[in-house]
Symmetry: C2
Subunit: 302 residues, 2 copies
């Protein structure tokens, strides 16, 4: 047996993606659909079966090493369980790994989507060749994954890297998790959009995308909104430097599209908050874009 | 060769300790002195040589596997360097590992004191048998070390676990590191003592120790001060749960002497701030007390 290909599956609350990936990280085939997030686990598993059939007909599957499945947390990946995924109705205490194994006839490894993306960036993206990196995805929420000492971190139940829910302000802004003061409640795309909506002036009807565009054109209101977002990102990133000591922080997710505009503010906050030995760690954009989780999930089997 | 003993050395800003430790973690001999912190590195190295001579005469050293040295950070333990230790005058860009190797004639491994203590607790203390733990020491400052997936974390320059310097309040209280809003600036023994001094009423002339004693007797002012300290500790500990996902958080350092009084407030804050899957992780007192770093440093060589 010389299995040099695996399937990566990324089950998101809005998009469901599957890809056939080889040991070089190359996507040989890729399919995507809208997740039937409200239809219950059986419906989503049927979607997975359908996508996998398109990229790897049953007759070919014995030549694959298996399928890595990236899901939003909380998961217990040591037992292959979805504990209760807020964006997927009915995914509560669900043995998703064994259900998918039965459905697609391949060994399945379940991984938190942030950790899967960190593995993808580490093996094939912006973190290639590194021993230590922290990956964050900044979109609706903030997720993450960490590689230290040459290994992806997992921890109890495989839940290391829930970076969005570290408190950066005691009893602060309400977070989607129900708690207050989480980093996600200040620095996610959702939080950025909320500040945009609450701002005075022409930007109030904008989106992160339109605010980035206006900031590129030098609009003062847009630049101020971008600076505030960058500052909150920098606060959390400086925390990650002290806590994990990565040699690089990699940013993915939709908000990373504005990275060039955010970078000076992120850097300024790192200089203000980080101790000298941590200050010169680079912060870079993800290399694999939205495919990081997909490729990283497959890479677990390669 | 069957080297079943090593030397542990703990170079603190106030106390210098050395011990002979066996593979069971037992301290066979132990010496301690006041660190000549302001006298420069040569003076401290001479102190180390003196302590080591007392516990392991030169003729016996070939039967030892080496010496583990725990120091306050920042260190670059991958290169055996002290980068600039605030509490030890002149310890700046100093190749302390090779200097000590030459001075005591044994292989030396340098380790951040927080990581050394985490290793000690993991191998011989409150974290025995665990795969994942976070250790914090709460005294003048807050330090830490982490074991995940069965291995002590090191990261870039061996600096993982500078937990005291994560921001928990944007532009908040001034920290000893010069930045603002660090966890250490709210939850360390120093911060606790500062709040005691600023309080109104009879407690204002107290110390953490006297406040713990008064709280034990039911004094309302003391209980309120303890509750505030516990709340700040809980905020940072909840962050550690999300970031590392340990199966246990172990608290050492002087403030842990009041753990029984602090525990309810710590637990309440974890319940408020942690996502459900993280809430039932135990928080316990260190098992090795002030010897955690000493024993852990030796354990690196055993």
């Amino acid at each position: 047996m010389n299995q040099t290909r695996a399937i990566g599956i990324d089950i998101g609350g809005s998009r469901l993606r599957a890809a056939l990936v080889d040991t070089s990280g190359t996507i040989l085939d890729r399919r995507e659909t809208a997740t039937l997030a409200q239809a219950g686990p059986e419906a989503v598993i049927a979607q997975v079966v359908d996508l996998v059939a398109q990229i790897a007909p049953a007759a070919e599957r014995s030549s694959l090493s298996g399928a890595g499945v990236a899901c939003p947390g909380p998961l217990d990946t040591t037992r292959g369980l979805a504990l209760g995924i807020p964006t997927l109705a009915g995914w509560s205490n669900l043995p998703i790994a064994s259900m998918l194994e039965a459905a697609i006839g391949l060994p399945v490894r379940l991984e938190n989507d942030g950790i899967a993306a960190a593995i993808g960036e580490w093996k094939f993206g912006a973190g290639r060749g590194m021993q230590h990196l922290a990956y964050i995805t900044v979109s609706t929420g903030i997720g993450g994954g960490v590689v230290l000492d040459g290994k992806p971190l997992h921890g109890r139940m495989g839940m290391t890297g829930h970076v969005g829910h570290m408190t950066v302000q005691r009893d602060g802004a309400l977070c989607s998790c129900g708690n207050r003061g989480c980093w996600e409640a200040y620095a996610s795309g959702t939080a950025f959009a909320r500040r945009i909506g609450q701002s005075s002036g022409a930007m109030a009807s904008g989106t992160p995308k339109s605010v980035f565009a206006a900031a590129s054109d030098g609009d003062g209101d847009a630049l101020a909104l971008v600076a505030e977002e960058a500052d909150w990102l920098g606060i959390g990133i400086a925390n990650l430097l002290h806590l994990y000591s990565p040699e690089c922080v990699i940013i993915g997710g939709g908000i990373s599209n504005g990275f060039a505009l955010l970078e000076p503010g992120i850097r300024a906050r790192i200089l203000a908050n980080a101790m000298p030995a941590f200050r010169n760690v680079p912060v870079v954009v993800a290399g694999l874009g939205e495919n990081a989780g997909l490729v990283g999930a497959a890479a677990i089997l390669l």
